[in-house]
Structure formats: structure tokens, C-alpha cells
């Protein structure tokens, strides 16, 4: 069974959105379920700090042994930081998606977009379909 932490929010595109110490900043990565479906991740292309995205813009691509997938920005905002470690070791996305395998830290432009994200329960329902 995939791990779906209660403390996080989720998008229908299988990203998680986690809190930080700042109210308007979030951590984004892909869920445990998503990494399991993708299989071994071999390359992750991330944006650069300072890039801005609208909700549902493609902010990066993830290449697994099977296929290349795009990642969609779950919120509108600016990239504050990206996880350099997964450039060196993309397997972190598989081994620790909610921890060392995080991808991007966003400054959220419109807090109301966070309200539209899925809860852990709602996300569980989505993947059980």
C-alpha cells in the first residue's frame, strides 16, 4: 500500500504539497503512489529558482525506466529553491518521496488555491479508483 501522510495535501496529478515554517511557502514533490507507478526514476528536470508558474503549468519532467512524464504545478507561484540532491541521485524520489526526494519549494501567490487541493482521504479515494 502506498503511504499517504495525513499532514500533506495532494493534487489530482499525484503531487503532494507540504507545509513549511513560512505560511505562504510550500514543498512540492510526487507521491509515494506516483513513484511506485513510475518505477525507477532515472532523471528529473527541475525549474530554476526565480521561475514562476501558473497552476497546472508544466514545471518539470520526470524520466523513469518506462516513460517520461510531465509534472504540473499544483499552485501558482515562484520557485524559491529546488532539491539539487535529486539531480545527483534521482533514486531519492523512489526511496524517500516525502523526505529527501522533495522537488521544489514554491512561494504561493494565491492562498485560496491551496483550499482546492485534495486531503489525504480524498487522494486515497482517487488512487483506489
Amino acid at each position: 500500500m502506498s503511504e499517504i501522510p495525513e499532514s500533506l495535501k495532494y493534487s489530482e496529478e499525484h503531487e503532494y504539497i507540504g507545509p513549511t515554517d513560512a505560511d505562504d511557502e510550500v514543498i512540492v514533490g510526487i507521491t509515494d503512489y506516483a513513484q511506485g507507478e513510475l518505477g525507477d526514476v532515472v532523471y528529473v528536470e527541475l525549474p530554476a529558482p526565480g521561475d514562476t508558474f501558473r497552476r497546472m503549468d508544466v514545471f518539470g519532467t520526470i524520466e523513469a525506466v518506462k516513460a517520461v512524464s510531465e509534472m504540473y504545478s499544483p499552485v501558482s507561484g515562484e520557485v524559491l529553491a529546488v532539491n539539487e540532491a535529486i539531480d545527483e541521485d534521482p533514486a531519492l524520489v523512489n526511496s524517500d518521496p516525502y523526505g529527501a526526494g522533495w522537488m521544489v519549494r514554491f512561494k504561493v501567490e494565491d492562498a485560496s488555491e491551496l483550499e482546492e487541493l485534495l486531503s489525504a482521504d480524498a487522494y486515497r479515494l482517487l488512487i483506489e479508483e
Binding site: 518505477g39 525507477d40 526514476v41 532515472v42 532523471y43 525506466v65 518506462k66 516513460a67 541521485d89 534521482p90 533514486a91
Partner: protein, 439 residues
């Protein structure tokens, strides 16, 4: 060094690899049939092997004659009028074909056709080719039977569509039985029909792409016509077309004048050269040999046996590995999704474990529309005993997944190298011999 030491060295190296001379090679969509040794003997005849590529046509009549005759045979199999033997592989054949499409529309002053349609089951080279040729890819849905969805097709057909690329049978092994209606729709809106001929092994001698309404088809000699796939090449992907596209084929063409053969450079509307000289000539000799050995009936029997072998394989496996789109013709796409849900063992693990049983892995995770896809194409050249050995191995692995999943997820165990970190292998490729390792 004595001769036998050298022989042993190379024999040992050859056994570290898997090849079709060792055992069944079940990659689907790739048609890894046995490559008869007589092909090699013919390609090594000194008149062919020693021929200089700059030899004048008068001194190369045998080679030109062989190419001309091979072209005619392939056109007959494809139901087409003209052919170029130049492209070096399927993917390059696709590019040639899509450039032909572009040249055709341009010559008619029909410049607005920017989009090429491709079903969601297609091989990755199809959209890649279309993008490389400067067109825009439009993805079409497959329906529940695994066939192109006609409503999806109708909804996008427009004056900006250059053509449709459709593999038949498609990459699920399913025959596009509505192909005549599809061709009519595409032609009706001014587009062209391209067939990716990778799966011709299911049809040759029985049904012809040209009769289905296709205008362009590439044939993979290294699949259907028993030439080696090589270590990434060389192969050959000749492109055959209907007469209205012939003026655009690559230069030089071949022509027969009386009893002699000549290169034909006089093609003002040609898309130009696609490959150095005349393509991979040695591969053409092998394919020609294959066709002449089979003859007309043999070609048909080959396709029939390929379909029969796959029906047998599907019947043996479908209980343990379900077929979401049913049994295919020459290949079937099984799903490991149920196995993964129950045991945590993925299709990737099953494929790795097959190596321990002495087989090459099948094609996995393609086509993308089947979850945990495992695609197997047994080909006509395998005996029933060998088919059983492979089916038994897959069933044994499904049992292992139930009782001892770690045995499978940790595989392979018996190969010269075990499970690789594919991420790191891709980024830090290390294939150079280091003398420090010389223990």
C-alpha cells in the same frame, strides 16, 4: 597466443550476452526471429562483400539487380508501387515517410497541413519522428477493443491534417479491422495514410497495406525479413509508396533499362538522400536471400505460424497474466497489474527474473495504455517445446511472486552482473575497460 585461446575468449564473451542463437528472444514489437545462417553466407559472397561503393554501375550489375528485385518483392508484399531501400532502420524509414508526406502536400501547394495524427498505443518513434519533421503531433484515443477510436479520429480531421500514422496490427497486436473506413476518412479530408510496418510479420502474404488504403509504409528488414538487429544497427527500413508519392522518394533510385540496371538520379522532386550510398547493402542481401528461400507460399506460412505461435502462448499465459485487450495476432500485451497489487512484484521484476531462466526479457511498459505491460512476441521460428519452456518460466515466476516475492524483486541472480541502478547507469555510464580490474 594459440588459436583456441582466442576462440574460447570470444565464445565466452558471446555467452555473457543473450542472443537469438541461444534461446527465445521474446521482445514484442521487435520480431526477434531466428536469422538463418544462409543469409550470412550470401552476404559474405566476395562479389557482394568486396564490392566497392564507388564501383560504376556496369561493374555492379549483380548488386543493382539484387536491389531492384528485392524492391519488387517488397512492393509485392506491401501492395505498393515504388520503394526506396535507403533508410537504415524503422525510425529512419518513418522520417523518410513523413518527409514524403510533407513534400507531397507542398508540391500541391497545400501548405497548411501542420498536424499528424497518432493513436495513444503507438511506438515512441512515431511521435518523435513527427516532431523531428516539423509537424505537430495529435494523439488519438484507442477504444475498449484496443483499436483506433473513429469518433476521436473524426473530431480532429481537418484541412490542417497531413496524415495518420497507424501501425497494423497495432502495438497491442490487434488488427485495425476498420482500416478501410479509416483510410476513407483520412483521404476524404486530404490527408495521407502512413503505416508503421513493424508488425508486418502478422500479415505478410495474407493482407497488403496498399490494399488497406495506406499510401506509405516502412518495412523493418531486421524484424520481418530476418536480418540481424545488430548492436543498435545496422538495419534497414525500406519505404514503399503508392505511385503518386514516387516522385518524392530519395535519390538515387534504381531503374532497369532493357537487361541492365542503373542508378536513377533524375528525380527533381526528391526529398534527397537519406543515407550514404545506397543504404545498408549487406542487410539487403540477407533479406533478399530470406525471401527467395521462403518463396510465395513460405511468406504466407511464416505469418500464419507467427500468429499460431502467439495464440498458443497467449492461451498458456492468460490465466496468470491477463490480456486487457485480448489475444493479439502475432504478439500479445499482458498486464502484471493484478500480480503487482497482490504481491508487490512489478512487471520489471518479472522481466529481470526471466534472465535467470535463460531468456531475454520481453518488452515491458509499452504500449503505455496497458498498466504494468508485458509484451511477448514469440515469432514463427520457435518450436512448441521452446514456447512451453518460456511459458513455464513465466508461470513459475508468477508462483514465486506469490510465495517468495523477494526472490523476484531481487532478480536477476544468475547473470554476470545483477540488478543495476538504472538511474546511475544512465548518468555515469562506465563501459571502458580498466586495466586495474585485470585480476
Amino acid at each position: 597466443m594459440p588459436e583456441h585461446e582466442v576462440v574460447r575468449h570470444y565464445t565466452e564473451i558471446s555467452l555473457k550476452n543473450h542472443h537469438v542463437d541461444r534461446a527465445l528472444y521474446p521482445l514484442g514489437s521487435c520480431t526477434m526471429k531466428y536469422n538463418p545462417k544462409v543469409n550470412e553466407q550470401m552476404a559474405r559472397l566476395s562479389g557482394f562483400a568486396g564490392l566497392h561503393p564507388f564501383a560504376p554501375a556496369e561493374a555492379a550489375q549483380g548488386a543493382l539487380g539484387l536491389m531492384h528485385e528485392l524492391g519488387e518483392l517488397l512492393c509485392e508484399v506491401a501492395g505498393m508501387d515504388s520503394i526506396s531501400l535507403q533508410p537504415a532502420a524503422g525510425a529512419q524509414g518513418e522520417l523518410t515517410g513523413v518527409l514524403l508526406m510533407r513534400a507531397y502536400h507542398r508540391a500541391r501547394g497545400d501548405e497548411g497541413r501542420r498536424r499528424v495524427l497518432i493513436p495513444d498505443s503507438a511506438h515512441g518513434t512515431n511521435p518523435a519522428t513527427v516532431a523531428l519533421a516539423g509537424f505537430e503531433v495529435v494523439e488519438l484515443r484507442s477504444n475498449e477493443a484496443g483499436r483506433l477510436d473513429l469518433d476521436s479520429l473524426r473530431s480532429v480531421l481537418d484541412a490542417d491534417v497531413a496524415g495518420l500514422m497507424l501501425t497494423n496490427p497495432n502495438t497491442l497486436g490487434v488488427f485495425e479491422s476498420e482500416i478501410l473506413e479509416i483510410s476513407e476518412l483520412v483521404h476524404g479530408s486530404g490527408g495521407l495514410m502512413y503505416m508503421d510496418g513493424a508488425n508486418l510479420n502478422a500479415l505478410m502474404g495474407i493482407a497488403r497495406p496498399g490494399d488497406m488504403g495506406y499510401d506509405i509504409v516502412h518495412l523493418n528488414l531486421h524484424k520481418t525479413f530476418s536480418t540481424p538487429h545488430g548492436g543498435g544497427g545496422p538495419g534497414a527500413g525500406p519505404v514503399a509508396v503508392k505511385a503518386r508519392l514516387a516522385p518524392f522518394l530519395p535519390t538515387p533510385g534504381l531503374k532497369k533499362e532493357g537487361e541492365s540496371y542503373a542508378l536513377d538520379w533524375d528525380r527533381p522532386e526528391s526529398i534527397g538522400k537519406i543515407h550514404g550510398f545506397y543504404g545498408n547493402f549487406g542487410v539487403l542481401v540477407r533479406a533478399y536471400t530470406y525471401l527467395r528461400m521462403l518463396g510465395r507460399d513460405g511468406v504466407r506460412e511464416t505469418a500464419e505460424a507467427a500468429v499460431l505461435n502467439n495464440a498458443y502462448m497467449s492461451a498458456r499465459l492468460e490465466e496468470r497474466f491477463p490480456l486487457p485487450y485480448g489475444r493479439g495476432m502475432h504478439e500479445s500485451v499482458y498486464s502484471g497489474a493484478e500480480l503487482k497489487r497482490r504481491t508487490g512484484v512489478k512487471t520489471l521484476d518479472v522481466a529481470k527474473r526471466l534472465l535467470d531462466y535463460g531468456f531475454h526479457a520481453p518488452t515491458i511498459y509499452f504500449p503505455l495504455i496497458v498498466s504494468e505491460a508485458l509484451m511477448t512476441e514469440p515469432t514463427e521460428t520457435e518450436t512448441r517445446e521452446e514456447l512451453d519452456r518460456y511459458a513455464d518460466a513465466l508461470i513459475a515466476i508468477a508462483d514465486e511472486a506469490e510465495h517468495d516475492p523477494e526472490l523476484v524483486t531481487g532478480a536477476p541472480h544468475a547473470t554476470p552482473v545483477t540488478r543495476l541502478d538504472e538511474g546511475r547507469a544512465g548518468r555515469r555510464l562506465d563501459v571502458r575497460w580498466s586495466f586495474d580490474n585485470d585480476a
